[in-house]
Amino acid sequence: MTTTERQAQPAEGYRVVGTRPVRPDGTDKVTGRASYGADIRLPGMLFGRVKRSPHAHARIVRIDASKALALDGVRAVVTAADFPDPGDAVVPTIRGPIPKQWQLDHIIAGRKVLFRGHPVAAICATDPHVAEDALALIDVEYELLPAVTSAREARLPGAPLIHDDGLAARVPGLLQVVDGKPTNTSRRTEMRVGDITAGFAEADVVIEREFETAMTHQGYIEPHAGTALWNQDGRLTVWTSTQGAFGVRQSVADLLGLAVAKVRVVPMEIGGGFGGKLITYLEPLAALLSRKSGRPVQITMSRTEVFEASGPTSATQSRVRIGVKRDGKIVAAEAHLVYESGAYPGAPVPGGARCAFGPYDIPHQYVEGFEVIVNKPKVAAYRAPGAPQSEFAVECVLDELADTLGLDPMELRMRNAAREGTRRPDGAVHGVIGNVEVMQAMVSSPHYQSELVPSPDPVKRRGRGVAMGFWQNGGGESSAYANVHADGTVSLILGSVDIGGQRASCAMQFAQTLGIAYEDVNPIVTDTDSIGFTGNTGGSRTTFATGWAVHEAALDIRRQLEQRAALIWEVERADVAFSEDGIVRGPDGRQMTFREIAAELPRTGGMVQGRVDIVPTSAGGVVGPAFAGHIVDLEVDTLTGKVEVLRYTAVQDVGTAVHPSYVEGQIQGGVAQGVGMALNEEYIYSDDGVMANASFLDYRMPVANDLPMIDCVLVEVPNPGHPYGVRGVGEVPIVPPLAATANALTAALGVRVSQLPASPAVILELISALDD
């Protein structure tokens, strides 16, 4: 894959922002020196393994670990009984309150297992092979229960009830109740704008279709890994690969009944997350094993464990109905969404609901969604959680409407584009957004302007598809400390884990504000004891929010250096000013560069630290939502069903591209994952709930030679709610590929593709039905 180079120059008006400097973590990563989750080695460290359920749904009758404990080298075993009893507690979460018992059950089951791979015990030994052997000696007796592995099955009358412990009754709405009995259907989401009935009454053409997507995994290359040392003084240190060290700290403290101040979490380098590393799986188990054994304990997952027992994204069913006037104006749109949650509540239905019609200005909208609990792993966030699936359905119906009306598919979209002032279905009103600019850039792109030439091979058919995508992005709290050194360099201490270039983008914004060179800033990700609270690296928030924090930290340093210069020059503070070029100027032509004044710090009162803990939106900031539009050409082999992507162009409003190469990398990564969801990726389950393809050999993710050059077009409509116009860029590029690919396939085959992945088997079935 390559990319279209947008610029090698800084963004307009900037010196550092918009350039493409060398990434600070690059050398360590390409030389293999970077330390990821499983790389840490501590003196006396033991190796842990997790005993997992082979069944998708079963009652635990008995767990006997005595034989395992008797094995030479085994030091400790833990089960759910070793954790503090959660009692009747109900805990608030961003997905709504749930019984605390369910949080613990997800980590380690005590009463029932709810998915294959569900942990039932953990063990540690002096050698990983001994630990592996010991797992087989833990005897678990199960009473098998019927499993349900799809929302359709789980919602049938008489389906086995997965959560039958009665705890849901403590949380209204957690499980939907029918005839006085709880069901597997969980929370309901509903949104409305205008009067949907009146809206459809105005429509000249109405199209309604149903769509399905499969459960897919983020496919991060680094499996989960957690290491813990429970010291004799009661302090716990955790080393882990995570998108949010502070979230791990809270989760571990809650589950183990520890004070937060007793827990320190050290984030290691992270080999991908995409939302899947916002959750705690191994760390509480490693911690309890450490307490029992008195030694540090490390647990890592295998790839099979990652597939079976971490958090993929939901399989979904959607029904979308859209009504338009003959001139192409959309007057009404409704969507009904059913997302699988996996074994516990928490499917991203709200994200799907809020984004479904995001790129459009529609006067009458209605969205209803349900989460459904099934015997599969609990879903986790996955890049723009919930949005790719709902927007896939909407964008496919829009294409069909354009075809029915005889309109170019982009023309229909542009006639209905959301713009500044458009109210979203969640009530928020768009500020300055680049949706229209993205659509215009798509239409004027060489790709869209080109003709799609038919294949010379008669068995191959080609098609072109387009789709838009919307994601609202996030804000939240971030901290940054910056220590000025006497040689004029700065150590920039961050609480944000660097998963997609945040060290570079934060160092660049910091250098821009302080008027120094990017190379003079050393960005460091630190542990939870060494910096103030910082939210997760997720939700496309970090370059926005932590970028704001480092900007404020630089301003803090500027103010302190102005004071110091006034002291040195013996002038009034008000007569000194730190300029954008990094020079402090005073009266009578006095001036010092940043480097010169830094050299004076040790002898004039000591070194200076800039320090900020901030919620940007509380400081007047506005999160800038993101819009993307993709164009794809592909070719279908009608004999084999294989699809080849011939050309792909991804256009995106990126606000200000702080480091354009990283932005392009985010876009290309999102496209690759989205194309994988569209064409190949899916969890395949047997009838009894066993995943049949839990390896990268059988779970088919696209690799570099499956994809063509992905051209990136960066549209820069700066976010006025950020000092450097930043918008999050990491999530929205995964939204359009599903629909763009499906629309291209539909164009190639002449039949609507409504089920993803459109694997060769699905394509051949469609062709076969067409031939019949």
């Binding site: 939302g275 991203p348 609901a353 928020a428 768009h430 709290e477 496309s540 939106t617 999530e731």
Partner: protein
């Protein structure tokens, strides 16, 4: 006065689509809402704090300062599900 749009799921029980109340902070607005429709505060808050699964849009921007968030006169508030990113 400020206008608070009631979430769809609550409208059947609360009986209205929006309420107009007075208040200069979210805490005051919620107290005023509860006076109009007793019990609504418990839907918005738990243990004296905003529920994490709810986001509150004030004039189109998501409030991030909890109950102390200032609410300008004439503001329009929406109570919407919070969304976590990836």
């Amino acid at each position: 006065m400020v206008v608070v749009h009631i979430p769809m799921q609550w409208r059947k029980e609360i009986g209205v689509e929006r309420l107009e109340v007075a208040g200069a902070t979210l805490r005051q607005v919620i107290a005023a809402l509860d006076a109009c429709s007793p019990g609504i505060a418990d839907r918005i808050m738990a243990e004296g704090r905003l529920r994490p699964e709810l986001a509150i849009s004030i004039n189109g921007a998501i409030a991030e300062r909890g109950l102390v968030e200032p609410v300008p006169e004439g503001a329009e508030l929406y109570l919407i599900p919070a969304i976590g990113g990836g």
